[in-house]
Symmetry: C2
Subunit: 420 residues, 2 copies
């Protein structure tokens, strides 16, 4: 089958000041075409290292996609290395990219500088895919069979994640039209509320009985729960889909409502889909989660049709004054309690007039907490037309991770209490 290697170029990734999100995006898109990613590599802004690495990857793969190293500033040297690698001694101006550079910079009220104009110059050995989202053109180098023992293509993409994401469909289209690809089939189901090891025990017999050519992966995430992904490479596409779907049907019998979605999904998206379908509305009251729940809910495009808003009541007077939580409830039960979670949920539901609401109060750490409810404890309240429900969750993580777990647990508890 066709294999690809993804290389990021740039000291900024290698020294750890930014996280590489491009490679996983490119990998997902190429995987969907049935291309197997053999490896991902990050190397620094070093001429020889760039050439050595790319030669090796081009020998081992039909496709190499690089990102980064193309910025206008002086720390980027990828283009010169690619010129050398492809035997170019002459740069040519790409007119359409130059127009795009003018268009982008003038929309931002910026002058077009020499260093911007130079971005439209490319080695004469490459084809260009216009980068409609940024200033650096996408360069495509097609190497004949005699160079690396097989026909090989190198795509050089910009490293800014926003540009990579948006330019990727054009690169994918070029790959699709230039290769004869074998098929692949993945199916993902989303579970929440059971740890990876317990889940694996629960489905052990099913997993052991899987056909040899099927591969199961456990992909745990604090925000979405454990994703289970079943894959087959190669073979006949319809046949694979049917065979995977049969196995997933058996899995659903075992896991029941631990599964909240039968595609690669998020809790906030699953909630949004139900609200869109039922025409109901939602609000949130957050203490320890500090806006994370609201942030997650509003990352869903179209969320303004069902999400009315939230109150983040970090300070106690805000809980009392804005959400109407009685001072006596806080005094008697403590600010982290089932009673306060319920009062917050009811308060924000009344304030916004929403059908549903979700509320959190807890100790995210570091510090805080007491004997009854140590750091890592959250009480979640969910208020619905059928009544108000509360549930406690306990985690043992650092602050950021606790906030994520709290928010995800709250969204899952909301999902369980919604009319589907």
């Amino acid at each position: 089958m066709t294999t690809a290697s993804i290389c990021t170029i740039g000291d900024e990734i290698l020294i750890g000041q930014i996280v590489d999100t491009n490679s996983s995006e490119i990998s997902r898109e190429l995987g969907a075409l049935g291309i197997k990613i053999s490896r991902m590599i990050s190397i620094g802004d070093d001429h020889d290292e760039i050439i050595d690495t790319l030669v090796k990857e081009l020998k081992n793969n039909e496709i190499v996609v690089t990102t980064g190293g193309l910025g206008p500033t002086k720390d980027d040297i990828t283009k010169a290395a690619l010129a050398e690698l492809s035997g170019s001694t002459r740069y040519v101006e790409h007119e359409a990219q130059l127009s795009k550079i003018h268009e982008i910079l003038s929309a931002r009220g910026l002058d077009v500088l020499d260093i911007n104009r130079q971005q439209a110059m490319v080695p004469d050995t490459c084809e260009v895919i216009l980068n409609k989202w940024g200033t650096a053109p996408i360069m495509v180098f097609r190497f004949p069979e005699e160079r690396f023992g097989h026909p090989a293509t190198l795509y050089s993409m910009p490293g800014v994640p926003f540009e990579t994401t948006n330019a990727l469909p054009d690169v994918v289209e070029d790959i699709r039209s230039h290769n004869t690809l074998t098929s692949i089939y993945h199916k993902t189901v989303m579970t929440y509320g059971m740890a990876e090891s317990a889940l694996s025990k629960k489905i052990e017999a099913w997993e052991d009985a899987l056909p040899e050519d099927m591969h199961l992966a456990y992909l745990p995430s604090p925000l979405t729960g454990v994703r289970l992904r079943l894959s087959i490479y190669g073979g006949n596409k319809e046949d694979e889909e049917r065979r995977v779907d049969e196995q997933i049907a058996k899995l659903k019998d075992i896991l029941g409502d631990l599964i909240y979605s039968e595609r690669d999904d998020t809790l906030e998206n699953a909630i949004g889909n139900i609200l869109k379908k039922t025409g109901k509305t939602l609000s949130a009251a957050e203490s320890c989660t500090g806006g994370e729940i609201s942030h997650l809910l509003t990352t869903v495009p179209g969320s303004s049709s069902y999400y009315l808003g939230s109150v983040t009541s970090y300070a106690i007077p805000v809980k009392e004054k804005v959400l109407g939580v009685p001072a006596s409830t806080i005094r008697e039960h403590g600010v982290v309690s089932s009673e306060v979670a319920a009062a917050m949920a009811e308060g924000v539901r009344k304030l916004t007039g929403s059908d549903y609401s979700v509320a959190t109060t807890g100790f995210a750490g570091p510090g805080g907490g007491d004997e009854r409810y140590p750091e890592g404890t959250v009480w979640v309240g969910v208020s619905t037309p059928k009544g108000t429900f509360t549930k406690m969750f306990q985690y043992h993580n650092d602050r950021k991770r606790n906030i994520q777990r709290f928010a995800a647990s709250a969204l899952h508890f909301l999902l369980q209490n919604m009319e589907k």
Copy 2:
């Protein structure tokens, strides 16, 4: 100088379902020790590929750190590959890790299963660093000089990011105590409000005059602005610090208040530091940013001492009823307007009694916007004891990126209007 390679093992990264955040963390910590990261590699759960890759990296580096491939479930095969690579034919139980496994699982109310117990079994060729944060032990394989041409050490760490982060100091301590390390010095300054290319033009003369052994990197991020990082590897530590600091002093003369921090920092942290110092408080009112500002502010440990809370008013009635934005203001000026941003900021400041407040109203997309204010426009309001100020920002990104840019622009505008 000592070099290291970082390898992540696991199909989940290679097929792009999760993003590798471990490598950048490990890189930062090793970089601080003066170790140069030569490359980062991600490979799949494939026995031969694991062994081939690790042998090559051990030949080229004194240190190799792997993450991942150690989970209790069936898709992980790293431990067997490491046993083979190190010539082990026998597994031994690590008692302290087994106790930790019992402790962690029982705290979560889970049974200790066979697959959990197996995690405490390690090849007899390795030393173990206790993983206090998870169930998989950290394995350390020390190879003598004759094996790879130089003494080489392989650290195998778990891949769960929370565990990697927390276990990393123990690995770093082992590396520090077993190596004679050369020095490195990085200094980072944070800028906001100028694009990378314009910034590079502005500091061109300064950059051209840098000594040859200094390296400047531009690290743009939508949430923090452009980081400028100046580095020197090798040499005498105090000398390097002084030389870098001299250059940074010159840079400050050129950039002035485009610099908001002289260390690797974030806007929310810089704001928090001022509020802690001055004893003032803050609140937020968010429309299009949907909780992102509140979320960013509350990721800062100790933020509860100055951050009172926020209202996310996605729906117009919430703006009117909770924040007290007059219906006439919305009718006359539109919901995305300087006037509504000001009224939201004043409303939440009054509601919470905070000293400062920040508010956003805009069109994050997709869709929305009008002729006057297209998709990508945000009005930011900041209310302070000295008055209320507003500013408009325009971006041309997708929804998630616009939300990030809006939130960061709002935080920067707040910072500019705070008493330092």
